[in-house]
């Protein structure tokens, strides 16, 4: 009786221990965002450690490799958005860390298009209305000012999004998983008992 209690207590202790504890190297994460005309990416392991010197490969939606590089000691890697005639659609950023860990992140075409496309559109529209040279210069300046301001304002939000992607393992999932295991072996036990 005492032994049984001991076992149960140990089990409960194990479950409590790993609540909210990040895990090590089961998984890598990559997060990327567009800022100005560049794409920035951050790579990190599940326990928050940065992936240093890990390989990053960028693919277009046809699956062709556009470029590759290594992350720096902060786990960051950035590259300029390739010109529009090279990419038409989403960009897939693949992180290949050591020991068989891999993650990918897709930047949608809208996200990329916003920065590259909008300048062109805006430049073309009002040009005919006012004197072309002055307005296009102003628009360009306004555009870059707005972008700077937005980038600054959005940075904390980007950080929040990144944080929320760092998935913590919830106790519900752990207990659910144990439940599944017991259930699966219950089924096995049922079939074994029918065999006899």
């Amino acid at each position: 009786m005492k032994n049984k209690l001991y076992l149960i207590l140990t089990f409960i202790f194990l479950i409590i221990m790993m609540i909210n504890i990040p895990v090590f190297a089961h998984k890598v994460n990559i997060f990327a965002y567009v800022e100005g005309d560049k794409v920035y990416s951050e790579s990190y392991f599940n326990d928050g450690k940065k992936c240093v010197d890990s390989k990053i490969e960028v693919f277009d939606n046809q699956g062709d490799k556009l470029l590759e590089g290594l992350t720096d000691e902060e786990g960051m890697f950035s590259f300029e958005i390739p010109p529009e005639d090279v990419i038409d659609g989403d960009l897939k950023i693949v992180l290949i860390a050591s020991m068989g860990h891999r993650a990918e992140y897709t930047i949608s075409a809208d996200e990329l298009g916003d920065t590259v496309g909008s300048i062109k559109e805006k430049l073309e529209e009002p040009v005919s209305v006012v004197s072309p040279e002055v307005s296009s210069f102003d628009l360009k300046e306004i555009q870059s000012l707005i972008e700077d301001a937005l980038d600054k304002k959005l940075k904390p939000i980007m950080k929040e999004i990144k944080k929320s992607q760092e998935d913590k393992i919830s106790p519900t999932e752990i207990i659910g998983g144990i439940g599944y295991i017991i259930g699966i072996f219950g089924i096995i036990a049922y079939f074994l008992s029918r065999k006899r």
Binding site: I21, K27, K49, I181, F185, A189
Partner: protein, 199 residues
Amino acid sequence: MHISEGILSVPVLVAGAGLTATAVGYSLKKMEHKEVPKVAILSSVFFVASLIHVPLGPSSVHLILNGIMGVLLGWTAFPAILVALALQGVLFQFGGITTLGVNTLNMALPAIICFYLFSKGIRSENNLIAFSLAFVCGFLAVLLSGVMVAAALVFTGEPFIQVAKLVLITHLPVMILEGVLTVFCIGFLRKVRPEILDV
């Protein structure tokens, strides 16, 4: 330890899945009715152990426990590890579904090897012999798993020296930790539940 999707080449994946399926089939056929609860409990332990993160120096490591699984379960370690890994893959995205076969093989085969090498020794009357064998058991199981991960990567085409070095460096702390933990577990079981050690 958990190899992600999209890393390994197809022949390696197929070979891993095939071998795992064979081993699981064999052990399910061999499995005794009365063994099932033990397998289920140890499968849950394995499932949870990989989530526990032990701070060690600047980084942290997680437990695998395949040495203990091996000596306590024998061949039934295969279905136990398969089920636990499948759930880790589905719930937490550790590893992946296509790599399930390879990952199971990487962790369960060393467990079986440890079963044949140590399951008699750790029941020895002599405490010193039993405990040192328990340490070697935990240590060796992780080492072999690391070697198998490295082999899977090398067969896919990564340079051997680089992979081997990395595996050794990253696994050494885990090996020692698992060795010590195996000693404690076996010591505890010898005291309170010696019949569990009879496979």
